[in-house]
Each structure stands twice: as C-alpha cells, then as structure tokens.
C-alpha cells in the first residue's frame, strides 16, 4: 500500500469534520421534530456517517504506515481503548448503582474521548521512539 500523505490526510479529516459540524447543527436537530420513525432514526444517526468516514481514513492511514508507525498507532489505540473502556465501566457501574445520575447521551462522548487519549498517547509514544512530537512519518 502506498504511503499516505500527511497533508492530504489532514485535509480529508478537516473536510469530514466540517461536514460533521454542519450535520450536527443543521440536520440532526430536525430529528426531534421528524414524524416518521425511520426518518427520525436516519436524522438522529446522521452525524455518525462523517465520523465513520474518518475512522475508515484512519484505518487506511494505519495500513499505509511502516512497521514502527503501525506499532505506535496500535499501542496508542490500545492505551485509548483500555483507558476509555475502564472509565466507561466505572461510569456504568456508578450509574447502575444510582450513585451517579447520567443519561444515555453521555455515550456521545465515548468516541471523542477515545480520539483524545489516542492522540495524546500517539504523540507521547512518537516522542519516546523517534524524538519528535509529530505524528508524521507516513509521507
């Protein structure tokens, strides 16, 4: 698989995030007033589409990386999954025991939290292995 241009990747992510924000502010609010159930469901999950495209882009980038970059991506993903998974479990048990009152919409924050921990871990690992903070290396 050919190397993935860092600039092109950033551009695609930026465009998809712009689509995500547009959908979130203009399309998603229509879900509450929608009549038909299927239309309501479609509108409610519409922000997931650009996010799914970003995930596909990330997967493509990881697959196009060299062996060290791939290791760093996977280690960062492991750290993010373990951290967010543990926190979700703690939150879930607290909510089930009625210690913490939280609505189902808190689940919206799981993916951004994963991305945040992944990004920070990826930078720290990159710094340790290569001496650079950047996440470049696939160019």
């Amino acid at each position: 698989m050919p190397r993935f241009s860092y600039k092109r990747y950033n551009l695609y992510v930026l465009l998809l995030m712009a689509v995500y924000i547009a959908v979130l502010f203009w399309l998603w609010p229509l879900a509450r007033g929608a009549g038909e159930t299927w239309w309501k469901i479609l509108l409610a999950i519409s922000p997931v589409l650009p996010v799914a495209a970003v995930i596909a882009l990330m997967a493509h980038r990881v697959l196009a990386s060299d062996e060290l970059q791939r290791r760093l991506h996977l280690m960062a993903l492991g750290i993010a999954t373990a951290t967010v998974g543990t926190l979700s479990l703690v939150g879930g048990f607290l909510a089930a025991a009625k210690v913490w009152s939280v609505g189902g919409d808190v689940l919206i924050w799981v993916f951004p939290a994963l991305c945040l921990v992944y990004g920070v871990s990826r930078m720290a690992l990159s710094r340790w292995y290569t001496g650079a903070w950047g996440v470049r290396g696939c160019e």
């Binding site: 060299d66 062996e67 060290l68 292995y129 290569t130 001496g131 290396g137």
Partner: protein, 66 residues
Amino acid sequence: MKNRVRELREAHGWSQATLAEHVDVSRQTINAIETGKYDPSLPLAFKLARLFKQRIETMFEPDEGR
C-alpha cells in the same frame, strides 16, 4: 539490540531520509533503529543487511542478558 546501521549509513554518506527511502520506511523509523529504541522486523533487518551487503548477524547483535 545493538546495531551498526548508523555506522554503515554514515560510511555511505547517506542521510537518514535517504536510507529510509532505500528501504521504504519513514525517517523516524531509521532514527529509532539507530538509537536502539526500536528493533526492526526480520524482513526490514534483512533489507538493511542486503542494502549494506552485510550478513545480518554482523549488523545486529542482541544485548547481553536479553
């Protein structure tokens, strides 16, 4: 693992980026190998050994006690 990648690269007058291009990895990967923070996979180690016309065991040597 100790290795002679930096020594051989410098003997050829190559930059890390040039070597990276020859073996199709990123410059950061070459840097991590040279500083001993990352041990390359067997295919990459063979690629490097072939490029420098060395035997793999003369290029890479396990650390004592590992």
